[in-house]
């Protein structure tokens, strides 16, 4: 069975774990990997080369925008779509994400079905591309 590899980079371990459980419960084709910080996330993205990365913005040491920048700079990860997932729900963050990285954006607290819809939509779009 084809697995859709998803990398969730979030310093909130519990949140990552429950999202992983939900996504994998909702769709058994999802294979969700977790990274607890940006640095680990970049490493795992390079090694795992996931179909989609769910990325928290506010993280210690390396925030989500720096992670995206690293990913875009690396050929192996530059094409991987990223869904920004953060509690930082202000307009400025959205503008920044949209203008600089042209990435999708969802805000915490997001419900699992909603997140799944977003993931599916992004995956579908990138597959079309």
């Amino acid at each position: 069975m084809f697995k859709k590899k998803i990398l969730l980079i979030d310093d909130e371990v519990d949140f990552g774990r429950i999202v992983k459980m939900n996504l994998e419960l909702l769709d058994d084709s999802y294979d969700v990997s977790l990274a607890r910080n940006g640095k680990e996330g970049v490493k795992k993205a390079i090694s795992l080369r996931p179909h989609l990365i769910i990325l928290d913005i506010l993280m210690p040491h390396m925030n989500g925008f720096e992670v995206i920048k690293r990913l875009k700079e690396n050929d192996k990860t530059s094409i991987i779509p990223v869904v920004m997932l953060t509690a930082k729900a202000d307009e400025e963050s959205k503008i920044m994400a949209a203008q600089l990285f042209n990435e999708d954006y969802v805000t915490k607290p997001i419900e699992a079905p909603e997140l799944k819809e977003k993931i599916d939509a992004v995956l579908k779009r990138t597959q079309n591309i």
Binding site: N22, L26, T86, K88, A89, K108, P109, A112
Partner: protein, 684 residues
């Protein structure tokens, strides 16, 4: 001199009588003495000649027979006797026709010859003769001689006696002295008698009468009368006085006190005289000018102070019309003085005058008409100079005007200060509010991240449990749903906080506001019970496009509509209007103040959201836009809705306000700019 003439009546009468009597008696005395002297002289001469005759008889007796005188012997003793018998006789001699002394009182002189002229004349004198001879010592002698005839009357010699003049006058002097003493005694007796009679008959009665009159007139004792009737005239006078007294006593006027009236009148006259002196002294020395004016305007009196005030001497103005009013005041002075001459009274009429020297002065003029039988007799005028006072008043007025100006300036300054203070306060409030908002923003930013993560975990957990357990128990499903909604509500609160502390920069686009309103109304319409809430739309179709952020305005309108619906729990009508209008009323951010967003008369798109709910009370209305202020329970929101709405509208440079009274619903007005909005609106 007057002192000596100031005798009493009795003294004068006495002096006159004594003087008259003395003159009379003196003249009488002189006349009598003259007459007595003549008689006494003739008598003395006769006595001397008689003694000479006796001597001659003695001589003849002693003649011898032949009758020769030369035979006479021893006649010296007879000569001496004759001489001694006559006082003051110096000698006595018998002298023959040849001048030879035949007998002599001085025996040594017998036989000497007298050849002096007196002897010769005596010898030759046919009769008795008397001569005055002066001795070489100057002493005078009176020589008496008598011829001695013996036979046929033939003269044989002479008898000669020499006497001192006193022989003729000695007795006369004595007589004269006696007469004088007697005369003086008579005069003294007469004077005493006269004085006594005068005193008894005239002086004492007169004094009694005078005392009576004095008692009558001066002391008012009407019962006094004089019974003295010593002499006829005095008696008549006393009778006259008594009659008069009786008449007066009968007279009723005098019965009530004529004497007292006289006394009073006398006292009054004295008082009047004193008073006149006093008032004259006052008038002469006061600074005010006192004038008496006749009805024709001429002066009958003007006090001496007119020289100091008006510059004229009193004599220059008497019996003249005084007209010294300043030309600029002449008209009103004329009108007022005309009334004064008409008999009106006036006080403190102030005007300017021109003095004799041309000096301009201010005076105050008061006058009082004096009338008799309602006819004007005199006008009493009092003029006082008030030039200094007027100058001071003028200075005071100027100072007052300056003060008023300064006061106005001060008021303006105070108003400016108040205005500035108010602006400062507003700015301070805004700064505080901004600071609070900033703090809230920072808080919200931090809280949002920290709260949303656990919320994310919870909602994901709920999702997971719902998926795993939802089918097994209805209660589990219900509980999980309640948890899910609670998380959503908590998330909305956090979103509200974040929105409230939002970034000031929003994107604006030219759009029709009606679309935004309709979309939001549709959204809200789907959530309310149409049976309870009636929604009325009155949107002006031709509204111009304005610069708005649709998302933000939808959020704002959604909040306002939700508030309106929540205000009508028992149902009601929500009316939403939109229209274009000129702002013609000051206030509500319309005006020229710095904080005003609209000018008077500026066009604006206005949205009215009206409900028929509970309305706001006064306190709620004041605090409606405060963050976290709410009149609803916690399930209906955190009290950030209106604050967020106001922020959103102010991002559009618009204005949001509420008009409401408790129990009569509420009407929310949103004013939005029609033009002059930049693409990006900076912080409001």
């Amino acid at each position: 001199m007057k002192k000596y003439l100031n005798f009493s009546l009795s003294q004068k009468i006495l002096i006159i009588c004594i003087s008259s009597l003395s003159i009379f008696l003196g003249m009488l005395y002189i006349y009598h003495i003259k007459h007595a002297e003549s008689l006494y002289y003739q008598n003395a001469v006769t006595q001397i000649y008689n003694k000479i005759t006796d001597f001659k008889l003695s001589v003849i007796t002693n003649l011898d027979n032949n009758g020769s005188i030369h035979g006479l012997k021893g006649l010296n003793e007879e000569c001496s006797s004759l001489k001694d018998s006559i006082p003051f006789a110096q000698y006595c001699a018998l002298i023959d026709n040849n001048g030879v002394s035949l007998a002599h009182s001085i025996p040594q002189n017998v036989g000497i010859t007298y050849d002096d002229d007196v002897t010769k004349k005596a010898i030759n004198a046919p009769t008795q003769s008397m001569f005055v001879s002066q001795l070489p010592s100057g002493k005078k002698l009176i020589i008496f001689s008598s011829p001695l005839r013996i036979v046929a009357e033939e003269q044989v010699g002479i008898v000669q006696i020499a006497l001192l003049p006193e022989a003729l006058t000695a007795n006369l002097v004595l007589y004269r002295n006696k007469t004088l003493v007697l005369g003086l005694l008579v005069v003294a007796l007469f004077c005493f008698t006269l004085f006594y009679l005068l005193k008894i008959n005239i002086i004492l009665p007169f004094r009694r009468l005078m005392d009576t009159i004095v008692h009558f007139f001066h002391k008012g004792e009407l019962e006094v009368s004089d019974q003295q009737q010593s002499i006829q005239e005095m008696s008549e006078l006393v009778d006259f006085f008594n009659d008069m007294s009786e008449n007066m006593k009968r007279d009723s006027f005098f019965k009530i006190g004529f004497a007292q009236e006289v006394l009073k009148r006398k006292n009054a006259e004295e008082y009047l005289e004193l008073s006149e002196k006093k008032y004259k002294s006052i008038i002469d020395h006061i600074h005010e000018v006192i004038m008496l004016t006749r009805p024709d305007g001429t002066l009958t009196y003007i006090s001496p102070s007119c020289k100091a005030v008006l510059g004229y001497e009193p004599a220059e103005l008497l019996n003249k019309n005084l007209w010294i009013a300043h030309p600029q005041d002449a008209e009103r002075v004329y009108e007022v003085l005309k009334r004064a001459l008409g008999g009106e009274r006036g006080e403190d009429f102030e005007y300017r005058i021109v003095t004799k020297t041309g000096e301009e002065k201010w005076i105050t003029h008061s006058w009082q008409p004096l009338k008799k039988d309602n006819k004007l007799q005199l006008i009493v005028n009092v003029i006082r100079e008030i030039t200094k006072r007027k100058h001071m008043e003028n200075d005071l007025l100027m100072a007052n005007q300056d003060l008023m100006k300064n006061q106005e300036l001060l008021k303006d300054m105070i108003q400016d200060i108040h205005k500035t203070q108010q602006q400062l306060k507003d700015t301070q409030d805004q700064l505080i509010q901004a600071e609070k908002m900033s703090a809230v923003g920072l808080l919200a930013g931090g809280v949002a991240h920290e709260v949303k993560n656990p919320l994310g975990v919870i909602i994901q957990g709920v999702n997971y449990l719902s998926k795993k357990l939802g089918d097994k128990s209805e209660n589990v499903v219900e509980v999980l749903e309640m948890m899910r909604l609670s998380v959503k509500r908590a998330d909305n609160i956090v979103k509200g906080l974040v929105d409230f502390a939002k970034s000031p920069k929003i994107l604006l686009q030219q759009e029709n506001i009606n679309k935004c309103i309709e979309k939001t109304l549709n959204d809200i319409g789907a959530t309310v019970d149409p049976q309870k809430i009636n929604i009325i739309k009155e949107l002006q179709s031709d509204l111009p496009d304005i610069l708005i952020n649709n998302t933000k305005l939808e959020q704002a309108f959604m909040n306002l509509f939700i508030n309106a619906v929540q205000a009508m729990p028992d149902g009601g009508t929500l009316t939403v209007k939109s229209y274009l209008s000129e702002l013609k009323k000051l206030g509500n951010s319309v005006g020229r103040r710095k904080e005003d967003r609209f000018d008077l008369g500026e066009r604006s798109v206005i949205i009215e959201i009206e409900d028929t709910g509970e309305g706001f009370n006064e306190t709620s209305l004041k605090r409606a836009f405060e963050p976290f202020f709410t009149t609803h329970g916690p399930r209906d929101g955190a009290g950030l809705g209106l604050a967020v709405c106001k922020n959103i509208i102010e991002m559009h440079k618009g204005h949001l306000f509420i008009d409401s009274e408790e129990g009569e619903g509420a009407k929310v007005y949103v004013h939005l700019k029609v033009e002059d909005i930049s693409e990006e609106v900076p912080d409001s």
